[in-house]
Each structure stands twice: as structure tokens, then as C-alpha cells.
């Protein structure tokens, strides 16, 4: 049986300590710049904060993973290299990388440093994963949220590294690391700037009838009735019209969150080494609730007990949850 490590999000030092206290085996976090894919206003760590909180985590046996999982545009590679050097000095336990140039730099300049392949690298086949393992010595791959459990089980037998899968949080629809939707509307790039539907371009307006419109850079992404659950104005979760869909429909996906709590035993059995909880942009309250619930569930499963999964629906987007691709390929 795999160790089933619990990998938890930390958007701020307080959230990091919360995750550690709630039983995270590892936390993942990023600096306050474009080097990570949650470069959101007021979020993330200064070098001093990371130094301090990494010590807090390490003192309690929790690992610290640093996300360097964006793609530096030509001419700006140094920012990513400096972040890697800094991470090594701070003593993080692994880097989560996507860009080949960044991976190559860390593998050459800091040999022996543990590399995890970010979901942003979109490695969804054994061959692609092996490419990163053999090229840069990647020790773990974070799988895209598009594979079924039988497919994960099959991949496990064909790759030389560990597997990490998302189990809870934002349900990414597009192949990560290949999405320029935000840049198309806002001029800020998910891949290069670490930004997705930036708050600076988001506007909510309440209409006279109590309904609410969410806009991104002036484009109406969705409109919610007075009683309807809302979601982020992310382009892939908006409602649009098509020639034969005049009423407006979720062309890509509904506002819904991934929740695999019921599939944990199957995932462990399929050989998944680590479970990732999404949500560095979410609050301490979210971190505390989700990490506590999954800590208990994983401990129950490992002890051979029936896992009692707390209801986490309230924390999900649109307050709806899905098992997405993991359960059935009809999702596609």
C-alpha cells in the first residue's frame, strides 16, 4: 500500500501553519511573483516568510514543496532561476516544475534536489512522464485531472516515479499549461504570469431583480439568478450561447468542485502515492476544514477502517461536487 501522503495548499504563512497543525504531510506554496501559478494579489510568501514557516513545518515533520510551475517568457528566465536558488537555500524539500528550461537548470545546478512534475506540464501518458523522469530526474508526477482510475493504475505500472493526484478543490477543465483564455481577455497570462481570471479585471454587478453578473475585462462570463449559486468568473466556467443553444449554457463546465473522498481507497489501491488538495487562494478556514477531514479519512483507510468522510460540499464552488474524469470517461 502506498503512503498516501496528504499534500496541502498554503497561500499565506498562517495558512501554512494551519495546514501543518491539521495534519498535512506536505504543504505546497509559492513566492509573491510570476514564478508560480497562483500569483494572486496579497497571496504567497516573501523569502523571509518562507524561511520562517518552512522551519515551522520541518520542526513538525511536514515537508515543504515550492511551486515554480509557470513558464518563463524569453528574457525573464533569471527570475525563475533566482527563485530556485532561494528555495535551495531555504531548504525546501522539492520543487514543483513545469518548464523544461527551469527543470534543466535545477537538475544541473542543484543536482540531488527533488523535482516534482507540475500538473502544468500536462504529462498525461507514460511516455511523456518518462521523458521528464529520464531528462531531469523527476521523482513524482502530478497527474492531470483527466484520467480514470483504471488509466492511472495502468500508468503506474509503466513509469519509474511516484504519482500525485488531485482529490479536492477546483476542477480544472482545460489541459493545464496549455490555456491562454485569461490572456486572451485580460492581457495577463496563466502560463507566463501565473494568473487566472485576475481579480483586477473582475467585476460583479447586481441587477435590479437581485440577479448578479460576473464580468472579466468587460466580458460577461455569467449571470446568476437571485437564488442561484455563484462561481468564479473563470472563462471555462461561464455560460455562453451557441447557434443552437440560444438559452445560454455552460459550454465547458459548470461551477463545480472536485471531491474524490469516496474514491480514496481505489486511488490508493491504484498506486497513487500522494493526494493533493487544491486551493492556495482559499482561506485558512478552508484549509483547516478540508485538511482535517482528509487527514481523518486517510488515517482511517490506512488503519483498515471505513472512512467517514465529512460533508465538504459547503466549501465547493457552486456548492456542487463531482468525481470528474476519475469515475467515468463519459465525463469527456
Amino acid at each position: 500500500m502506498s503512503l498516501a501522503e496528504l499534500i496541502c495548499p498554503a497561500g499565506t504563512p498562517a495558512a501554512l501553519r494551519t495546514a501543518v497543525d491539521a495534519g498535512a504531510d506536505a504543504v505546497y506554496c509559492g513566492f509573491q511573483d510570476a514564478t508560480n501559478a497562483r500569483n494572486f494579489p496579497g497571496l504567497n510568501f516573501t523569502p523571509d516568510e518562507l524561511t520562517e514557516t518552512a522551519a515551522y513545518a520541518h520542526a513538525r515533520g511536514t515537508k515543504v514543496l515550492l511551486a515554480l510551475n509557470t513558464y518563463p517568457p524569453a528574457g525573464k528566465v533569471d527570475l525563475w532561476r533566482q527563485a530556485a536558488d532561494l528555495g535551495v537555500r531555504i531548504g525546501v524539500d522539492a520543487f514543483i516544475v513545469a518548464d523544461m528550461g527551469v527543470a534543466d537548470y535545477i537538475a544541473r545546478i542543484h543536482p540531488g534536489t527533488r523535482l516534482h512534475l507540475s500538473v502544468q506540464a500536462a504529462a498525461s501518458s507514460p511516455e511523456a512522464i518518462r521523458y521528464y523522469c529520464e531528462s531531469f530526474g523527476v521523482k513524482r508526477v502530478v497527474l492531470p485531472r483527466i484520467l480514470t482510475i483504471p488509466e492511472i493504475r495502468q500508468i503506474r505500472t509503466e513509469i519509474p516515479c511516484e504519482i500525485e493526484t488531485f482529490i479536492f478543490g477546483n476542477h480544472g477543465l482545460m489541459v493545464e499549461g496549455r490555456c491562454s483564455l485569461t490572456n486572451y481577455l485580460t492581457g495577463q497570462s496563466t502560463n507566463m504570469d501565473g494568473v487566472c481570471s485576475p481579480a483586477s479585471d473582475v467585476e460583479y454587478t447586481r441587477d435590479a431583480d437581485g440577479s448578479m453578473s460576473s464580468q472579466l475585462a468587460g466580458f460577461t462570463i455569467d449571470r446568476f439568478g437571485p437564488e442561484e449559486k455563484a462561481g468564479y468568473p473563470t472563462i471555462c466556467k461561464g455560460r455562453y450561447t451557441a447557434p443552437h443553444r440560444r438559452e445560454g449554457y455552460y459550454a465547458f463546465e459548470e461551477p463545480v468542485s472536485l471531491n474524490l473522498s469516496r474514491l480514496l481507497p481505489d486511488l490508493i489501491d491504484a498506486g497513487v502515492h500522494a493526494f493533493k488538495i487544491e486551493g492556495r487562494q482559499r482561506s485558512k478556514s478552508y484549509v483547516r476544514g478540508v485538511v482535517t477531514a482528509f487527514r481523518r479519512a486517510v488515517d482511517d483507510i490506512r488503519a483498515g477502517r471505513q472512512a467517514d468522510i465529512a460533508d465538504l460540499v459547503a466549501l465547493t464552488e457552486g456548492q456542487k461536487q463531482t468525481q470528474g474524469a476519475f469515475e467515468t470517461k463519459k465525463w469527456r
Partner: protein
Amino acid sequence: MKMSAGIASGPPLAGRGAVSRLACALVQPLLSRVVRRIAARHPSLFARLGPHQATDFLIDPVELPFALHLRPDPQALVFRAVPRDAAPRAGAVIRGRFMLLLELVDSEEDGDAAFFSRDLEVSGDTEAVVRLRNALDDVDGSIAEETARMFGAPGRAILARLRRSYVAT
């Protein structure tokens, strides 16, 4: 959920006129003390606000007789109760039931979850709200408890009663 209807149909006329002005005058000294104390104890909060230290926030607890005006500028901190009809033009408005807002300040509630359920309403500069949220979220411990402690046993008693009354609804 019924609470979202609570926002939309909240008492639209409360927070105007003489009663509101009196309420504002009564709570104002308290607010000034609270915010100065919190600012002094959590200086890192301001770094996360970045350029939005100069933004005017209007925090609107729908069932109270007034709204709150916050400008988190460490050089010239503003936190005051304002009648709704005399509220300043704000860069960002955060509206919800008082207890929810209090829980958000303390990270007992998840802001995104409250927003998804429509219990929380945000308008104006969304980045300002996100920064404020992230800044408050990085504060360890409870600001509400801290505030209550400033007023000794009576303060703690009021907070406890407030929480009980909201749980009951």
C-alpha cells in the same frame, strides 16, 4: 439557500436618519481603538494590502443600523461607522450579515464559500477585496477575540452572546 434571500431582502431603509447617526456616534470611539490596536499588533497585514492601503472599503453589515468605512492606510488609518445615506464613495463594497463578516475576519468562514452561496456580496474593485481578504487571512488567532478582550469580561460576554444568537437563527 435562505440566507442569500436575506441579503437581497434585508432592511433597505435601516441605517439612515437620526437613529443611525446616534448609533454611529456611540460606536465610533470603540472602532478607533479596535483598529489601532489590530494595526499595531499585525503590521504584516499592510504589506499584503499593497496598493490598496489607500482604497476606501465600505463594509456593510446588512442588519446593523450603519455601515463601516475602512481605509487601511497605516499612516492615516480610517475605520468609522457611517450612516448608509452618508457613506463615502467606496472603491469596494462588501455586504453580508454581521456575524458572517465577523467570521470572515477571523477565517472561521471561508470567504469563497460564502460568496458561492451568495451570502456575501462584493462590488467595486475586486482585487482590493481579495487583497483585504488575504491580508486578514494571514493573521493568526481571532481578531474578534482580541477585540473582545480589549473590553474585558463584558466584551467577551457580548461576543459569546452574539455568537449564540446567530447560531440560534
